[in-house]
């Protein structure tokens, strides 16, 4: 879509354009007329649900992590390092289980890149975690408490010269790079001096590492792109157009860490507010740009630090929600559909989050009471989720079917519902994931 035209479009038109792009994917040759028909039906089903209309039946989208690897008899390490294996496992999952959409092959990140850059923030399969398990975050105060002002003043520069050099050991020398906004004109102090650090051997080594990581990323995306093309051609739409995060979570998850952020709630709440404000336009752009590039309006937003218990209602209303809401509204303005994936419980937040324009967002819940969800968000937002991860992991297929049936009866009633797992699926029984999908297809017909 041409930039000028986009600028002139209303949010509604942008959204229709993105849905239209999703419905008619560029450069895809469908496997046959049946695959194409199934594809369009699946996108329409999801779109109708999001717009609070009654689709032909409840759409079903299990939120998948490493499950396809385990299902295919591979390890988590296999799919993070062997891209052939990665895409064959993820493709096999979609073709065997036939959900209404797939989540791409994005969950297992390419391990090589993080080895090249010597990532400190995570441990991953074969690199601190058993080859059989997913990666895990090492929480630290990667941003120190006294660095809020640096972040607020210039988030990009803070990331480049402070945060990234800390979380990627190979990028430590980038601390020497001055703000790029100092490069202004030919007069040497406004230009030439800024290039000096790029001539230093250690900085050059860091840049070399970045180039190597880039090469690996290009190799990886080739495979991942092939995967998407192939499953799309088989009739399965990609669920995600892009992703972004709640500004509070950007700081709390990986900059300050859970503990650091909880201290900040009491010690420097005004800094949190300034920082989330600085990050809000960045978070909007991150999601909206990806959605436009991918021609799919759904922007994934996993929510963490605002869950039940993680803060009080008052703290949620004051510190977490306003900037999140602004990001959501900003995405809607850009024609996107924010998909808020509320891990943990969100029971105490329903009263707050229901204050939103109707039919514009999608909420996925984990351990939230779904009858309360319907009470609060019915007629406001499409909802999904709540298929318990513990049930999928250790329960019996019959229990999963019963739970799915109950969910459809409770919240599926008149549309605006998508069957989803409450949390990301790694180690679950294949027969249970199958039962979740099949029960939805059986009981979810309107």
């Amino acid at each position: 879509m041409e930039e000028r035209k986009w600028e002139e479009m209303t949010p509604e038109q942008r959204r229709e354009a993105l849905f239209e792009a999703w419905l008619s994917p560029q450069g895809i040759e469908f496997a046959g007329p049946d695959a194409e028909k199934a594809y369009r039906e699946r996108v329409t089903r999801i779109k109708d649900a999001i717009e609070l209309k009654k689709p032909d039946r409840v759409p079903v989208f299990p939120v998948i992590g490493f499950f396809p690897a385990f299902y295919a008899g591979m390890t988590a390490q296999d799919v993070m390092y062997d891209y052939e294996k990665l895409i064959s496992a993820y493709k096999k999952y979609t073709l065997d289980f036939e959900p209404d959409a797939h989540g791409g092959a994005f969950n297992p990140s390419p391990g090589r890149i993080f080895e090249i850059l010597d990532y400190q923030l995570y441990i991953w399969p074969g690199h601190g975690v058993s080859p059989n398990h997913s990666y895990q975050c090492l929480e630290e105060e990667y941003m120190r408490a006294d660095e809020y002002d640096d972040l607020i003043r210039d988030p990009s520069n803070y990331f480049m010269s402070t945060y990234l050099p800390r979380v990627f050991k190979a990028l430590e020398p980038l601390q020497k790079i001055p703000p790029l906004t100092g490069i202004l004109e030919m007069y040497s102090a406004f230009s030439a001096v800024n290039f000096i650090p790029f001539g230093m051997p250690d900085v050059q080594e860091a840049l070399q590492a970045l180039m190597e990581a880039g090469n690996e990323a290009v190799k990886w995306i080739g495979y991942v792109g092939t995967h998407d093309k192939e499953v799309t051609a088989a009739g399965f739409p990609a669920f995600f157009g892009g992703g972004t995060k709640a500004p509070f979570d950007i700081i709390g998850d990986t900059l300050r860490g859970t503990r650091g952020m909880m201290m900040d709630i009491f010690r420097r709440p005004e800094k949190i507010l300034e920082a989330v404000e600085a990050l809000t336009p960045i978070a909007i752009k991150m999601g909206a740009t990806a959605a436009r590039n991918n021609g799919n309006p759904i922007v994934f937003m996993p929510l963490h630090k605002g869950a039940d218990g993680f803060m009080s209602d008052e703290q949620f209303r004051r510190l977490y929600w306003p900037s999140l809401k602004e990001v959501m509204l900003g995405l809607v303005e850009q024609g996107c559909v924010p998909f808020l994936y509320a891990e943990g419980g969100y029971n105490s937040r329903l009263e707050v989050i229901k204050e939103f324009p109707a039919g514009k967002v999608l909420w996925g819940f984990d351990q939230t009471d779904m009858s309360k969800v319907k009470e609060n968000l019915g007629g406001v937002a499409c909802v999904g989720g709540n298929m318990p991860i513990d049930l999928l992991s250790v329960g019996k297929a019959e229990q999963v079917r019963e739970y799915a049936k109950k969910l459809i009866e409770t919240v599926g009633g008149d549309g605006g519902y998508i069957m989803m797992s409450g949390a990301v699926i790694d180690e679950a029984k294949p027969e249970n994931v199958k039962a979740m999908i099949e029960a939805t297809k059986e009981y979810g017909v309107y």
Binding site: I123, V129, S130, N132, H133, S134, Q136, L138, E139, T258, R259, M262, M263, I265, F266, R267, G309, F310, M311, S312, Q315, E343, G344, P388, I389, D390, L391, S393, V394, G395, A423, D426, E427, A428
Partner: protein, 210 residues
């Protein structure tokens, strides 16, 4: 003066706590009395948490204030002044899982409620749990886990306890973000708790039943 400190800590007034502790220590006040006030305050913090008035940030922050306070008081404490515990608990995050925030809060709340907590950290293999239970003769084993992979690790830990002939001597409680009664049954644990205060209540129940 005791009320001052209790109130300041309960209200999470960090500066006030620091000032009161400082002036009481300088005035030659009994350091054990100060720590006793802190314990009283933490009980109230725990109650407020249980009643839904305080949440995890308040617990974590109260712990932080208490930690600083303990550091300040420690030099004044006599070595002989050892605390009496109501029971022992071996605690840890199970093998394969490195999440520690929930576990730490449970450990902290058990500690302020008078339990001697042996915290083995994260990613703890079953064997280590068993060894620690044997060494301490702790009647309670508390297993934490956030990821779904923890289900099997918890199950294996309970099995290892049985293999060592300890299963009937030790009560096992489990907790974590995705833990339910379904998982309790799967792992063979005795009980599960949904938060730190539930963990404390379970530990008290286990000790009372002994």
């Amino acid at each position: 003066m005791g009320d001052d400190l209790v109130k300041a800590l309960v209200d999470l007034d960090e500066d006030k706590v620091r000032d009161v502790v400082k002036s009481r220590l300088e005035a030659g006040d009994d350091p054990l009395g100060i720590m006793d006030d802190a314990r009283k305050a933490m009980e109230v913090v725990g109650d407020r948490f249980a009643e839904g008035e305080y949440f995890i940030p308040e617990l974590v922050f109260a712990g932080e204030i208490l930690k600083d306070m303990t550091t300040a008081v420690k030099p004044y404490l006599n070595k002989a002044s050892e605390q009496k515990y109501m029971g022992k608990v071996v605690l840890g995050t199970v093998a394969g899982d490195i999440h520690d925030i929930g576990k730490d809060i449970v450990g902290f709340m058990l500690d302020v409620n008078g339990f001697e907590v042996h915290d083995l950290g994260v990613d703890v293999p079953p064997r280590k749990f068993v060894e620690k239970v044997q060494e301490t003769e702790s009647p309670i084993l508390a297993l934490s886990g956030f990821l779904t992979l923890a289900y099997d690790s918890m199950k294996e830990t309970v099995e290892a306890l049985a293999d060592a002939g300890l299963r009937d001597k030790v009560k096992v409680m489990i907790g974590g973000g995705q833990i339910s009664d379904e998982i309790r049954a799967y792992t063979g644990a005795d009980e599960f708790g949904k938060d730190a205060m539930a963990g404390v209540a379970l530990a008290k129940k286990f000790i009372a039943a002994e």
